[in-house]
């Protein structure tokens, strides 16, 4: 299907907790799910990755314009990969990166890691596809 994916390294589990080894694990899982040739990394990444701007309470702080301005770094990084999907393994990242696309009109989807794991295993039902784009919405629907 030639759909391309990138992944956001969560600051919390990578830079602030387990470092590059868990970022490598994340890539192993993602590449296994989507195929090595369909994965495009952002630069910089892993422990040197930019925070998306969803952390530290920013999402609830009320400073919406500042949060989106902060997110410009991340938005540009994602757009530079030309990926169709950004995989987020963290809730705050998911909310922020999803909002950055909605607000800017960027053409990528933001998807939880668990959604892709279940999709790849063929066990993702029709009601569990909130964040998939039209290209994957009808692919391998469990129970259909």
């Amino acid at each position: 299907m030639k759909i391309k994916f990138t992944v956001q390294d969560p600051c919390q589990i990578v830079r602030k907790s387990f470092g590059d080894p868990i970022a490598d694990d994340l890539r192993f899982v993602v590449k296994t799910l989507v195929g090595e040739e369909n994965f495009i990394d952002m630069t910089p990444n892993k422990s040197n990755n930019y925070c998306c701007g969803g952390g530290g309470g920013f999402l609830q702080s009320g400073y919406v314009d500042a949060r989106r301005q902060y997110g410009e770094y991340k938005l540009k990084q994602i757009l530079a990969t030309k990926a169709d999907y950004c995989i987020t393994a963290c809730h705050n990242c998911h909310a922020q990166i999803h909002d950055l696309a909605e607000h800017s009109g960027a053409n990528y989807h933001t998807v939880h890691l668990w959604t892709l794991i279940c999709l790849s295993l063929g066990i993702l039902g029709e009601n569990e596809r909130e964040y998939l784009g039209p290209d994957l919405a009808d692919v391998a629907v469990y129970g259909a």
Binding site: C11, R15, K16, S47, N48, N49, Y50, C51, G53, G54, G55, G56, G57, F58, Q60, S61, G62, Y63, A66, R67, Q69, Y70, G71, E72, Y73, K74, C90, H91, A95, H112, W114, T115, I117, C118, L121, I123, L124, G125, N127, E128, E130, Y142, G143
Partner: protein
């Protein structure tokens, strides 16, 4: 990079940075800045409110306590720690930001973060959206029942709450049970397929901790301890933080 020139006023007594140094291991290296700017050049918060990490640290070092404990920039820094990662002297600027947050009167801190923290203190769920333990168990059981019936391969799937002796204690971001319950299911399915022995807790199931972002140490600790105590009382071996 912010371009506004700092104007130093009359000599003030610097206390803030000294207090913070006392609290940090090795003083947080706060006095070691070489002013190289590696922190600011890779910080997405640089320029917001005319501030950046280097400027913030320098202002603290110069004793500009009033300015650094009142700038809203401390709520725009996510404390992601990229600055300390990039810093040749490993200066703990994020911790300085945290203490600057805690210098704000509690009621003046951002309403959204304050409200989410206070919501989590209302009951034992510690959910920033205020969902009660009863709300949570109702939603989990309802969704589980629906999926067991609709998807035969998962008719034996479990989503236990307070299962004694389960290996993994799992918490849950409130967003799913409160606003999009179907999104809880993919993770349940993965745990089912790999045969993981897991449980939620009726207490401390809320995965988010806005009291930490609020820099309210006492409330933050209350929430962390509520979840940890529940995991201990159930005899769980591993605490899985899904947040």
């Amino acid at each position: 990079m912010s371009s506004e020139t700092l104007k130093l006023g009359k000599k003030k007594q610097s206390i803030f940075i000294d207090k913070v140094k006392e609290l940090l291991p090795e003083g947080g290296n706060l006095g070691l800045c070489l002013t190289c700017g590696a922190c600011s050049s890779g910080c997405p918060a640089t320029g917001l409110e005319g501030m950046d990490p280097r400027k913030f640290l320098r202002m603290a070092s110069l004793g500009m306590d009033e300015e650094i404990t009142s700038t809203p920039w401390v709520w725009m820094c996510t404390m992601c720690q990229r600055c300390i990662y990039a810093c040749p002297m490993e200066i703990d600027i994020p911790q300085l930001v945290y203490y600057a947050r805690s210098a704000w009167p509690r009621e003046s801190r951002p309403k959204g973060i304050l409200g989410s923290c206070d919501m989590a203190l209302r009951n034992d769920s510690c959910s920033a959206m205020g969902a009660t333990p009863e709300d949570f168990s109702f939603v989990v059981e309802d969704v589980l029942e629906e999926y067991r019936e609709a998807q035969p391969e998962f008719k034996d799937m479990q989503a236990p709450i307070d299962k004694k002796g389960a290996y993994f204690f799992l918490n849950q971001n409130s967003r799913e049970p409160v606003t999009e319950p179907d999104e809880m299911v993919p993770l349940w399915k993965i745990l089912h397929i790999v045969g993981a022995d897991w449980t939620y807790g009726s207490k401390g199931w809320g995965g988010e901790n806005y009291c930490m972002f609020l820099a309210d140490d006492e409330a933050w600790e209350h929430i962390a301890r509520t979840a940890a105590k529940q995991a201990d009382e159930l005899g769980c071996k591993v605490f899985l933080n899904t947040e």
